[in-house]
Amino acid sequence: MALLSASGVNVVYQPSRGQRISAVRDVDLSLEQGEFVGLVGESGCGKSTLGFALTRMLRPPARLERGQIIFDGVDVSSLDGEELRRRRRNGFALVLQSGMNALNPVRTVGRHFGDILKAHAEPGEKHSAAAVRERGTELLGKVHLDPDVLSRFPHELSGGMRQRVSIALALSLEPQLIVFDEPTTALDVIVQGAVMQTIKELQREHKFTALLISHDLGVVLESTDRVLVMYAGRIVEDQPSRDLLTGPHHPYTEALLSCYGDPRADEVQLGEIPGSPPDLSLSEPGCPFTPRCPLAEEVCHTVDPPLTILGRGRAACHVRAPLVSVESGAAHVR
């Protein structure tokens, strides 16, 4: 059984004044126990919003408008307050993009561990300073940091070290699911590679389910089992990583792949995707990728393609994953 399954998830940003933005639209997905899944797309396509929705971290003006999120057999989409907090313990954790913003600048790393352990302590459970230090040392060891980092403040650490601290904090309650939201984006290439390596090791060792959110398809393909591609708030492709790399279904995935190349090759040609993702405050008919799509046909302008099973994955594209019913429907209208 899937650890997490979400169906019909819709998230809107509804500010008190101004436009309503529908950032996540009818997303269905499932994460199997112990699976390492990637979620990619350009900025502003709703990746982080979806990650926040799945871990119930949305804050106003964002709101889960519709949809069901079943985590470990329990519908967490309707949980609240104390129940949700109890569910989070050993349930799910989130690692954010910037280690600096995720850590409290006036607390030492050790205090962060103490805060988490105490906030989620069972009634009667006590965490002495020595116990916190011991647990902190153990967790820092897992992310290859020295125990003396416990007495440091976030500003005394490098970006890579801060990100490792965030990962250690996420591990402290041994969650079943960890969502990594752009964990390496602010880091330089070599540090990025090392941090991703640590994440992969930890995932193999602890067998937690991981969702890696990133705009960098290259990084995602290197570490995940399966990739979800998101565009304009929708999932447009879902395939095992290797299949996606060798046989992308959706033209958007194809275009993203063309943006990579090998610096060692004889000829290097980088692709780009002209135009930009659609404005999510509008709701246009048809497939949202149509204006940038080289394969667009007439039906793409009017009918939004559903995510349908194709090969070992799913894709939402009239051209690549044609739906018999849609075609016959169109013929009927004509």
């Binding site: 540090v191 960098d216 393909l221 060798t246 060692r264």
Partner: protein, 296 residues
Amino acid sequence: MSADRAATARPDGARRTGADVPALVLNGVTKTYRVRGRNRKLVTAVDDVSFTVAPGAAVGLVGASGSGKTTLARMIAGSQRPSYGTIDFGQLAVHRLHTRGLRRYHHRVQMVFQDPYGALNPLHTVEYTIARPCQNFLGMSARQAQARVHELLETVGLTPPAQFAAKLPHQLSGGQRQRVVIARALACDPDLIVADEPVSMLDVSLRAGVLRLLAKLRAERGLSLLYITHDLLSARVVTDEILVLNGGRIVEQGPTKRVLQHPKDDYTIRLLDAVANPYAIAAAAPSIDTTAASTP
């Protein structure tokens, strides 16, 4: 201070001929810092770096963070001074320049920084941002400047120009902002552009567009380019020559293609291995035939 006559004598905005474009020459440039704190340790950020950016050349300066790239860029921009060594651009001794000399220098050498969000004043329209250097450096009237802004916006691919000129930075996407920053750098018709990680904050899907723009400008305007990055793939696309910087020192240099195909230094190899390259994974372990699996 010796006056650079060539810069003032030339008609404003005129296309440069190869002959009057000087090279940027760095000779033994070193920068040391005294670290604050108890032990006041001396840190050498840039250590005895010498190289030349010839007229019309595109040179890449690559390295991980902490390798001294940005310190070097700041010294070349004239915002910091080297502790030792010289930086010369034609008759201008950049390492000694003050206010007025720097102004003359910035007429000819412009910077493009990494963060297009921080590089633009959020209260100024695109037109104002790009018109300022036209008025300041080229002495244009407001009307002339406006025409030039539209021309520059077209050059960087922000069309229709009239529509983009009226916008404020928050109304633009990251890629569009970086194009505005490039247009501003081009406004005073410089000879050399120093671009410090110009695409690393942009979506992968937009990188190729900005890189292609830099290559086009170089071809059409005879601009020289110093391209600073940790991304070897983009360096491969825009530069002819590459310098690999580690711990403030140049550890390897040569034609870009040769250095990347046959790296000699361990550090260059580590940088190459760190590039997220999905095609390398595919080549390393061919996948199972997917068509067989999907056929019913």
